[in-house]
Amino acid sequence: MLTALATLLSHYRRHPGQLAMLLLGLWVASALWSGVQAINVSARDSYARAEALFSTGLDRLERRDDEPLTRDDYLALRRAGLPVSPLLEGEVETADGNRLTLIGIDPLTLPGDSAFATAGSTDELTGFLTSPWQTRLAPDSLAALGVARGEAPGSTPHLAEGQRLPPLVPTPSLPPDTLVMDIAAAARLLDRGTTLSRLVTAPDALATAPDGFVLTRADTLVEPGQLTQSFHLNLTAMALLALVVGLFIVQAALGLALEQRLDLLRTLRALGVSARRLVGLLALELVLLGLVGALAGIVSGVWLAQALLPDVAATLASLYGAEVGAQLYLPWHYWLGGLAVTLGGLFLAGSGVLWRAARLSVLGLGQAQAWRAGFHRQLRRLALAGSGVVALGLALWAWLAAQPPGEGLIAGFGLVAALLLAGALWLPPLLALGLAALARLWRRHPLAQWAVADLQLQLPRLTLAMMALLIALAANLGIGSMVGGFRLTFLDWLDQRLVADLYLRPPPAQFDSVEAWLGERSEVRETLPTRHAEATLREAERDGAARSLERPVSLYGITPGAALVPHWPLLDTRQGREAAWQAFRGGAAFVNEQLAIAEGLSPGDRLIVEATGRRETLPVAAIYPDYGNTRGEVLLATPQLAKRFAGTPSSIGIVLAAGGRAETLSEALRQRFALGSDSLVDQREVKRVATGIFERTFTITRALSALTLGVAALALLASLLAQARSRRRQLAPLWALGVPRARLATVQLAQLGGAALATGLLAVPLGIGLALGLVAVINVAAFGWRLPLHLFPAEMAMTLATAVGVALLAALLPALRLWRTPPRALLAEEEAT
């Protein structure tokens, strides 16, 4: 048994290139997959910890007049019998300049089941409640404070402004970059006196908000895990793609290794090794290779994740406000899962090899023509399978169409996967058809005809690599046009939305006086005050038929001023923009696209909205795009929102008159009203920050997509290198017939370049289909809004060129070797066969 295994494995000693290729494929597939999974697992751990904290899962109370809550509010509510608990939240800067969230709690009144309330003893509670207090934090937050894990318990690191934190108590259940301490200690550190950030209660502990307060239910606060789900699904899909492409390499290498060992296998069979044992040995070989490849892959995956995590964390924080630890969290199931996926994929890829080995005929001869016949059967099967996948995709499509809008994210990915898979399965039959047509066309050009016939013979071994290339190209194209389209749309939209030059967020008490003061300044052409309120969308009415919705929405008030109206983007109106704005001024509402899609609203519907205890009917005049917003929003004219719902003042957009200088005005504003440094923002700054966030999101997507293409190129190269040696024998007779070596090399390049071009051409419609699926299905399901489809011909040409370039590069090495092989050697090889 051992001898047989050693004999089988000795093949790789003679062909170390094949072994390297096999391991490379496994390594790449497993590295990308486990890297992305490491990021996902770590992020989910962070979300789980955050969700177990008090910022989510608890109802919140805030003052209706937007004044800060104080201890007196807390005491008054407690004495009225309401089970509220005070919470203080702020930010501290560490000595190294890191910013950490600081949360002060009262453990005595905090609703239970909070992950923070870890088991403790009497002195722990006393220690928590009394001087010098305690700082509870997750061990992965220690780095931000510059404290080593071993020295953490009890140490009192300095903050940037010189204060010291209370002694540290590592608490693994807390979310990253969050410090939790008693509210007394927090109030002292943040210098907040008796003010509070908010009051919290157990979910649904209060039936209604007490007078003068606004109650926000926990279930209307979106949890970070929910929000970021689509982001992680995206990453997972990309990783899966990389895994599949990597497995194509493995499949190619395994197939080749088997092909070359057929004689050896027959000999072994003839020597009395049973077919079952042979298959067992091959399976054992797979396991050994798989373990090596997977382990190497997982190790590099962790490294990759470590490299990517800071970017991912920054993106998630800015996009969704979800804190993700800067350190990886890798539980045992991560390692096991990574190994299982890689080994499972390997067996899937190797199952064909095992199958063929099992049915090996002891006397069979490797006849090229017989093999071709087999390949024809295989082509039929591929075409059939492709059709099956298409049918499945159509079924998914039909199912999705029947779903309420915004549902079916996973089905959407399924649809996209079906599209890619069908494309890949149909590729070999299509290439074979094309070659057959060419063969007829070029009947009179012997060399061309030979080239076509030769390519037909090569096709079986090239197909897998070509399929990998097709998938990678299509994914690259699809993602490229989604990202590009998104950027165009988003930048446009940002330009349209941000019409004012300056945005000012005065304290609520000063709002009116600031507005009046601005109105008298000569450099101000127009002020655009906004207001906001939290509301419940009770019902929607169409043609007199009412539907109950009961959905939380935000009410947002904008001023339909001369600077804003011409630019504000609208997607759908009833009787044109003019009429819509006319109605808007008169009290009609606009709803954002995500709300319209989610609830099936269209202009002309009437909404029953309840906020701050008032119930109003609002006709919908238009739908507007609202990229990046995670919530449903109803837009009203600011005066309407103030009058009908007592909306709270939010910000004032300031449009400068010609020649008005932003610097002068902001200086005057600061002097007159003692505004904080962050209450006045330049429009350019807003744009810069917003664009930065989206750029970072797509950097990750593009990096993964480029990696996938790289892997596909490797697959192609590996396949070509694998058969280069045997190809030389077939080229030798041609040379002997008088075809110069340069010509032969060119023919080879043309063959592969042509095949790659054909694959690339097929990838274009596939990529467009993919982009369509991404913007029209997946985006809607994940974010609630639809992107217009943008196509970028230059980028497509670039991708095509890449495909051909990759193929030529891959063909170049064998061609070069052919070029440099002395003709005698070629002949010697021919004789050897």
Partner: protein, 390 residues
């Protein structure tokens, strides 16, 4: 509502807490070594006079303290109904380590228990708060005169505004709780029909055989300052299971403060307060362990109808469980033989409803009991029984 931190804390907060050896160890380490820190708290000792109304108020220099009200009531149909409301105070730090008054800074911890029981119904609520002893306007606190003890909206307060008169004689209790099982609560008035009664030696109640005069473990007196008002007449309304019923009856209020509670040998406590048909009142308790020769330590007070107390020595009280019931998975004695031979008192004390478990941070049994003649079964009185450490 789960407050995992609170549980261990209350081991020390509740004099009545069950203290097995391991818990006692925790208690000792829990306060930075009871032995060393103990000297920083004031100590209950014999000869400390009771002063009113000041002693109705808090004694923050002592480690723990409570205002403990139990009431045996009946509704208009004569159906019995029980009520307990207790405010516990615990000092977080010794007096000389108190923090400067600052927003939220605290040196006192408060806990309130509230229970209403009728028939098979038994509803329990628990709340917590913090305060600084320098201020008296927090979420919880007690003011001596006019008397007011509160936590959130729960309060036991005087109905007399004039601080110069005895504001403690006319009180009202208001407490309500809303939870997923519905609302329960009480709005009752309490009128004292007799004097305040000091227990033990002029208010110093010894808690172990070697407690008085000598130094027990931790260089502390094992004892407390302890007085009661057992003569309350009650009138008002109680809400239970969504139904509000007019009630009348009588109540018993215990006031106790101490810095050294139990000693480590004591595992639990059975405590009786009885209103007898003769007009007499009886307070009797036994601490299981800590008695002479390692036995149980008993003590009590025999109170005449006009309020004059006779301290009962450990040997004067005979106490023996007759039957147990399984309550919340524990074997709890719900039928007792209680005899005070010097007063010719022979009673069988029985809980008509065994399901009176207080599933609070520190769980214990607290419920109404009926006292009967052992021979004839004649009803001789009623009261409350509290049992811990089971």
């Amino acid at each position: 509502m789960r407050q995992p931190w609170i549980g261990p804390l209350l081991l020390t907060a509740l004099l009545l807490a069950g203290c097995d050896a391991s818990q006692e160890t925790r208690q000792n380490t829990g306060f930075a070594g009871l032995g060393e820190a103990a000297g920083d708290f004031a100590q209950a000792s014999p000869g400390t006079p009771l002063r009113f109304p000041i002693d109705h108020g808090p004694h923050p220099d002592y480690r723990i303290e409570w205002w403990y009200l139990t009431a045996n009531l009946e509704n208009a149909d004569g159906e019995p109904l029980g009520l307990q409301w207790t405010l516990f105070r615990q000092a977080l730090v010794p007096p000389d380590e108190r923090p400067e008054p600052a927003p939220w800074a605290a040196d006192q911890l408060w806990m309130a228990h509230f229970a209403v029981s009728q028939g098979e119904s038994h509803r329990v609520a628990e709340r917590f708060a913090r305060s600084h002893s320098a201020g008296n306007d927090g979420q919880a606190g007690v003011r001596a005169a006019p008397f007011r003890a509160w936590l959130d909206d729960w309060q036991l307060a005087s109905r007399v505004e004039d601080a110069a008169s005895d504001t403690f004689a006319e009180l009202s209790l208001s407490a309500h709780q809303d939870d997923d099982r519905g609302r329960f609560g009480a709005d009752i008035t309490l009128d004292a029909e007799g004097p305040l009664v000091p227990h033990g030696e002029d208010g110093f109640s010894q808690k172990a055989a070697d407690g008085q005069g000598s130094l027990s473990s931790g260089s502390m007196y094992s004892g407390s300052m302890y007085y009661s008002q057992p003569f309350w007449r009650v009138d008002g309304e109680v809400t239970l299971d969504g139904e509000t019923q007019p009630v009348t009856g009588r109540a018993w209020l215990d006031r106790e403060w101490s810095s050294q509670l139990l000693d480590e040998r004591q595992q639990g406590w059975d405590w009786f307060s009885l209103h007898l048909a003769s007009g007499h009142k009886l307070m009797a308790f036994q601490l299981r362990g800590g008695g002479a020769a390692g036995g149980d330590y008993r003590s009590g007070t025999w109170i005449t109808p006009d309020g004059s107390p006779t301290p009962l020595s450990p040997g004067a009280i005979q106490l023996e469980p007759l039957a147990t019931a399984t309550v919340s998975g524990r074997e709890v004695p719900t039928r007792w033989r209680l005899e005070v031979p010097s007063e010719g008192l022979q009673l069988v004390v029985e809980a008509p409803h065994a399901e009176r478990w207080m599933a609070t941070s520190v769980p214990y049994w607290e419920g109404a009991v009926v006292a009967r003649d052992p021979a004839s079964g004649e009803r001789l009185g009623e009261g409350y029984l509290e049992m811990t450490g089971y």
